[in-house]
Amino acid sequence: MKYITTIGDKEYTVEVIDERHVSINGRVMTVDFAPVSNQPVYSLLIDGKSHEAYIYPGEENWEVLLRGRLYPAQVEDEREKRLKTAAGGGVAESGEFHLRAPMPGLVVAVPVKEGQPIKKGDVLLILESMKMQNELKSPKDGTVQRIRVKPGETVEQKATLLSLV
C-alpha cells in the first residue's frame, strides 16, 4: 500500500510492502515495528537501527515526537491524495474563529467587548491555570462577535470562550 506522507515542506512516498518491509522514496528497508506497553509509544527497528517515538493522533495528522523533536505528519493514501490534488484541494476558509480554552481554568479577565474590532495578536482573554495567567491572543484581525464567558467563571478544556468574525 502506498502513502504520501508530508512533514513540513517535505513529501515522502512511503510504501508498506509487507509486515517486515517498507520503502521510502524507493529505498526498501527492513522494519520491526511494535507499540510499547499498549501506549502511544512505538519502537521501530529499521535495518537494525532502534528508534522510539510517541505518536499521537492529531486533528487531521499524526504528531510524532522523536528524540525530543515534534514532527507533525500528514499521511495520505496515494490515490486519495491524487484525487484531492485533481479537485484543486483545500476547503474554503470560513471567516469565523472560535477561541477555545486550551486547558481547564479560571477566566480572569475579558479585555474586549462584543462588536470591538481586533488586530492579530490582541489579547482576547486571560485564563488562569496552574497558578499561571495565560493571555490568549487573537490569531487574526476581525471583530468580536460573541463572548460566551465572564470573569470568575471556570471553564473546561476546549470550551468555546468567544467568537470572531
Partner: protein, 504 residues
C-alpha cells in the same frame, strides 16, 4: 533542644514527598495534609497520617493556616515543615506555630517579614552594605501614579515586581512608559491571586545578566555557612527551568566574595535555618542582591549532589537546636549537578499547561540519577496547582559528563497522559550555547529555538515519516479487519439460514 519527633508537612507534590522521606529516614513520624484533589497524591500515601484540608483551590486548602494548625495540635505534631510556596514565607503562619508551641522548620518570623517584603529587604541589605539593583527606594504601598512618576527616574527597561513576590509571579517587564499602566494592572492582578497582596515595586532591568544564587544555612548558635552557588539563568517568564551547581562562570575568588556577601545579608536579619540569596551577575561580573528566599528552594538538590549535604535533614537538625553538622571550610564541590524541572506544559503549543491522568511512566534510572517526583501512573494532573510534576537531577564528574548523562536520562524518560517540557530540556542539552555555558536570563525567550541542525533534522524526519505511515497504515488495516469479520459473520448467518431452509 527542641524535640522534633512528629512533623506536619504543610505542602503537597514532590517537595512534600521529599520532606516525608527525610523524616522517615530520621525515624520521625509524618503528617500529611491534602485537598480534595489530592486524596491519591504520593504525599498522602507515604505519610504516617493524612488529613483533609478542603476543596482543591489552594485558598480553601493548602493556604488554610488555621486548619493546618488545628490538625497539628490535634495530632500532637511538635514541628511543621512548610516546604516552598503556599505558607512557606508567611511570617504570620510562623508566628501562629510558635504561639501554639509547634516548631516552625525555617527562620524566625521577623526574618521572614524582613525578607518577605521585597522592598524592605532591599533596604535592609543595602544598609548592611550589600549591593542592590537600582529601583524604588522608599518603602510603602505605592500607587500606580507614584510608580509611573518614579519609573522614568529609574529608566527603562525596568521590572515591575510583587512586593510579596517570588517565582516570577506578578512580575512584568516594562520597555516604555506607554505600556506601563496595562502591565501594572496585570502584575497586581497576578500578585493578588498568587499572594493575596497586589502591592508592587520597580527595579531597573539589568540586561545580559545571569541569575546566580547562594545557598545559606544557619543554626541557632550564630553559625552561618554558605553551600556555594546555583546557576539559575535558564528561565522562561521568570520561571526557573534548569539549575546547576557550580555555575560555569564562577571561580573560587568570585564565589568567596559572593558567599561572604550572602552570609552578611543573612546575618543582617539574624537568619536561621536554610535560605537562599538571589543575585544578578552582569557581563562584568558585578553582582547585585535581588531577594532572599527564606525557605528551601525547588532547586536545592543540585547543591545536595555536589556538597553531599542533605539540606532537609540539616534543616531538621537546626530546628532541634543543634549546631551545623559541618564548618564552612568542610564544604566541598564534588563534580557537577544539573536539575531539569519537568513541567506538565507543551513546549510545542506555547508552553500551555497540560492536564489529565498519567497513563504510563518510565523513569530514567541508573548511576548518577535522582528523580524527585510527586506523581505516578494513574495520578490525575489537575489545573489547580503548579505545573511542575517532577525534578530530574543528574550528577557527573564534570559539567560535560553531567550534560551527557542528562541527555540520556531525558531520552529514557517516558510520560504518557500529559504533555511535558522534556523536549525543551532535550533541545537545551543539545544547544551549543548551553554547552558552552554562554547564556543569561533572557536566553530562552530571546535567543533559544527548539530547531535542530539540518542534517539530523532530515534523517529524523524520514524516520518520523515512516513511523507515522506505519501507525496510519495499521489503524486503517485494523478497521478493514473489522469489516471483514462482520462480512464473515453475516455470511455465517446466511449459511445458517440456508441450513434451516434445507431442513424444513
Amino acid at each position: 533542644m527542641a524535640a522534633v519527633t512528629k512533623v506536619l508537612v504543610a505542602n503537597r507534590g514532590e517537595i512534600a514527598v521529599r520532606i516525608i522521606r527525610a523524616c522517615r529516614e530520621l525515624g520521625i513520624e509524618t503528617i500529611a495534609v491534602f485537598s480534595e484533589a489530592d486524596r491519591q497524591a504520593l504525599h498522602v500515601r507515604y505519610a504516617d497520617e493524612a488529613y483533609l484540608l478542603g476543596p482543591a483551590p489552594s485558598r480553601e486548602s493548602y493556604l488554610r493556616a488555621d486548619k493546618i494548625i488545628d490538625i497539628a495540635r490535634k495530632t500532637g505534631a511538635d514541628a511543621v515543615h512548610p516546604g516552598y510556596g503556599f505558607l512557606a514565607e508567611r511570617e504570620d503562619f510562623a508566628e501562629v506555630c510558635a504561639g501554639a508551641g509547634i516548631k516552625f522548620i525555617g527562620p524566625k518570623p521577623s526574618s521572614i517579614a524582613a525578607m518577605g517584603d521585597k522592598m524592605t529587604a532591599r533596604e535592609t541589605v543595602r544598609k548592611a552594605g550589600v549591593p542592590v539593583v537600582p529601583g524604588t527606594e522608599d518603602v510603602g504601598n505605592l500607587s500606580n501614579e507614584d510608580l509611573l512618576s518614579i519609573a522614568p527616574k529609574i529608566g527603562f527597561p525596568l521590572l515591575i515586581k510583587a512586593t510579596a513576590g517570588g517565582g516570577g509571579k506578578g512580575m512584568r517587564e516594562v520597555r516604555s512608559i506607554e505600556e506601563m499602566p496595562h502591565l501594572l494592572d496585570s502584575a497586581r492582578r497576578e500578585a493578588e491571586s498568587a499572594f493575596g497582596d497586589g502591592n508592587v515595586y520597580l527595579e531597573k532591568l539589568v540586561e545580559g545578566a545571569r541569575h546566580i544564587e547562594i545557598q545559606i544555612i544557619a543554626d541557632e548558635h550564630g553559625n552561618v555557612a554558605h553551600l556555594n552557588e546555583r546557576e539559575c539563568s535558564i528561565q522562561r517568564r521568570h520561571q526557573k527551568l534548569i539549575e546547576e551547581s557550580p555555575s560555569p562562570i564562577m571561580d573560587s575568588e568570585l564565589r568567596a566574595r559572593m558567599g561572604a556577601v550572602a552570609v552578611k545579608a543573612a546575618q543582617s536579619v539574624d537568619y536561621q535555618n536554610a535560605g537562599t540569596i538571589e543575585f544578578l551577575v552582569d557581563k562584568d561580573r558585578n553582582f547585585y542582591f535581588l531577594e532572599m528566599n527564606t525557605r528551601l528552594q525547588v532547586e536545592h538538590p543540585v547543591t545536595e549532589m555536589v556538597t553531599g549535604i542533605d539540606l532537609v535533614k540539616e534543616q531538621i537538625r537546626i530546628a532541634r537546636g543543634r549546631a551545623l553538622s559541618f564548618k564552612q571550610e568542610d564544604v566541598q564541590i564534588n563534580g557537577h549537578a544539573i536539575e531539569c524541572r519537568v513541567n506538565a506544559e507543551d513546549p510545542y503549543n506555547g508552553y500551555m499547561p497540560s492536564t489529565g491522568k498519567i497513563m504510563h511512566t518510565l523513569l530514567p534510572t541508573g548511576p548518577g540519577i535522582r528523580v524527585d517526583s510527586g506523581v505516578y501512573t494513574g495520578f490525575e494532573i489537575t489545573p489547580h496547582y503548579d505545573p511542575m510534576i517532577a525534578k530530574l537531577i543528574v550528577w557527573g564528574e564534570t559539567r560535560a559528563a553531567a550534560i551527557l548523562r542528562m541527555r540520556r536520562a531525558l531520552e529514557e524518560y517516558r510520560i504518557v497522559g500529559v504533555r511535558t517540557n522534556i523536549p525543551f530540556h532535550q533541545s537545551m542539552m543539545d544547544s551549543h550555547r548551553f554547552m558552552g555555558g554562554q547564556f543569561d536570563t533572557r536566553f530562552v525567550e530571546e535567543r533559544f529555538t527548539m530547531q535542530e541542525d539540518e542534517t539530523t533534522q532530515t534523517s529524523n524526519a524520514e524516520i518520523a515519516a515512516i513511523m507515522a505511515t506505519l501507525v496510519a497504515h495499521q489503524s486503517t488495516a485494523r478497521s478493514a479487519q473489522f469489516i471483514q469479520r462482520n462480512e464473515r459473520d453475516t455470511s455465517n448467518w446466511k449459511w445458517v439460514g440456508r441450513w434451516e431452509r434445507m431442513h424444513r
